[in-house]
């Protein structure tokens, strides 16, 4: 489902605030988002039973941001969940309502594709493709 004009403007502005470069690692992206937010971001990889039903979540306090992501997921999926949560932070969303287990009703499908979730997901894919590109120094010989 394509982004609305408003969401597109919001995500474009959020991306332009970040100084992303090809070849960056996930931690570099976290640091860049922390700079934009003006507060540190702490990461918590968890296998806690209570965290079974979501791939990731975030909490924003006056002093710091906390991102929790599910440790049982494959590495690339964990990274994507992290980028998704960073997308929420960049869009100044209040919460992440993305589920992490099988959808049982149509209502859940609607939650998954709410405007906020689509913005965060769009940013997650954008961040991944921006940092996946080869750096200029590698491009010189390849």
């Amino acid at each position: 489902m394509p982004l609305s004009r408003k969401s597109r403007a919001l995500t474009t502005r959020a991306l332009s605030e970040l100084q992303l470069a090809p070849g960056m690692l996930a931690q570099d992206v976290v640091d860049a988002v922390a700079t934009v937010l003006g507060k540190p971001i702490f990461l918590e990889q968890t296998v806690d039973e209570r965290f079974k039903k979501t791939t990731g979540s975030f909490a924003l306090t006056p002093d710091f941001a906390l991102i929790v992501f599910r440790g049982i997921d494959p590495q690339a999926y964990q990274m994507h969940s992290l980028f998704h949560e960073l997308g929420h932070l960049l869009c100044r969303h209040r919460e992440c309502s993305r589920p992490g287990t099988q959808l049982e009703t149509e209502a859940l499908e609607l939650v998954l594709w709410s405007e906020a979730e689509r913005e965060a997901e769009f940013l997650a894919f954008k961040i991944a493709s921006l940092i996946s590109r080869k750096s200029r120094s590698i491009q010189a010989f390849g």
């Binding site: 690692l25 996930a26 931690q27 971001i41 702490f42 990461l43 918590e44 990889q45 791939t55 992501f69 997921d73 494959p74 590495q75 690339a76 999926y77 964990q78 990274m79 994507h80 992290l82 589920p99 992490g100 287990t101 099988q102 959808l103 998954l112 894919f125 991944a128 493709s129 996946s132 590109r133 080869k134 200029r136 120094s137 590698i138 491009q139 010189a140 010989f141 390849g142």
Partner: protein, 311 residues
């Protein structure tokens, strides 16, 4: 020996031309490396081992300009190599570099035009030097050209040595080119003033040929190493992306356009892997054993370093 080394160089520069073409066409930072290979190929052709010198000369108006074309394309090959090294090491060229390069090429070209004698009678570089080295313009032409190439090679070497990622193959290659050209400049002036014996002349010329050509071959291998690595990575991601595309097709999802996959296979591979994982996690889509293994391998391939909890 020169023929064998030049033939090897010909194959290597030809390979650079073919392997790097896809990157050079699409990515600006890759172009200097590709242009270096192209100019190098022209320079080797001008040595006369592939196309005989008289044929080349006839094609260029029988004025002996094959020699100048060889010198200019060698200079430009090293210039583009230097540009590629600067991009690789994220450094800038020294001030006045372009002016010195332009002035150098103009000066040796002017010196070349002052050389007297019918140049169309020569069939090789060696014959050209042997017959005309006593003329000051010949000595000037060749020594300015060789010095300019040596200076560019030395600048490339300095850029490599001052970078964090010192490539041994480039250090050795540029050092040998500088050494070879320095030896040849000394030899040319000794020949010009007729103060060198035939035995010493042969020895010094052998030193020049082996140092310069082995250095240039090492540089080609250094350039090719990056291209081969990139090509291998491209093919690996393409293979994974195509297989993930098939899984998404089996799940009844819209298939991503093939051209899109082929243009950026790494990004396509990542995005499709996430979509497959979404289907598994959110919609209970079941992967068979080979598909599970494929997604695990793609996952390992995509992640350079795993994410860790903050300490």
């Amino acid at each position: 020996m020169m023929r064998e080394l030049a033939t090897l160089m010909l194959y290597l520069t030809g390979l650079i031309l073919v392997l790097r073409a896809p990157y050079a066409l699409g990515v600006r930072a890759s172009r200097p490396g590709w242009l270096a290979g192209t100019c190098g190929l022209i320079a080797i052709i001008c040595l006369g081992f592939v196309v005989p010198v008289p044929t080349l000369d006839a094609a260029m108006g029988s004025m002996g300009y094959w020699n100048l074309l060889g010198a200019t394309s060698t200079t430009l090959a090293f210039h583009f190599m230097y540009r590629a090294i600067l991009i690789h090491t994220s450094k800038g060229s020294p001030p006045y570099y372009r002016r010195v390069l332009g002035l150098g090429i103009i000066t040796y070209s002017a010196a070349f035009t002052m050389i007297a004698g019918e140049q169309n009678r020569f069939t090789s570089v060696e014959a050209f030097i042997a017959a005309l080295i006593r003329q000051p313009w010949t000595a000037l032409y060749l020594s300015i050209y060789l010095s300019l190439v040596a200076i560019i090679a030395a600048l490339s070497l300095a850029a490599i040595l001052s970078s964090a990622n010192r490539s041994k193959i480039f250090v050795a290659g540029f050092s040998l080119v500088v050494l070879g050209n320095a030896v040849d400049v000394v030899l040319l002036w000794m020949q010009h003033f007729n103060v060198v014996s035939m035995a010493l002349s042969t020895l010094l010329y052998s030193v020049y040929v082996s140092a310069f050509f082995s250095g240039a071959i090492l540089l080609c291998l250094g350039f090719l190493r990056g291209s081969v690595r990139s090509l291998r990575e491209f093919c690996t991601f393409l293979a994974y992306a195509l297989r993930l595309r098939r899984i998404l097709g089996r799940a009844g999802q819209d298939k991503r356009p093939l051209l899109d996959v082929a243009r950026q296979p790494k990004i396509a591979c990542y995005q499709m892997l996430i979509h497959v994982r979404d289907l598994v996690t959110l919609k209970g889509f079941a992967l068979n054993t080979p598909e599970v293994s494929l997604t695990q391998k793609a996952d390992a391939l995509l992640i350079d370093s795993p994410i860790k909890s903050s300490t």
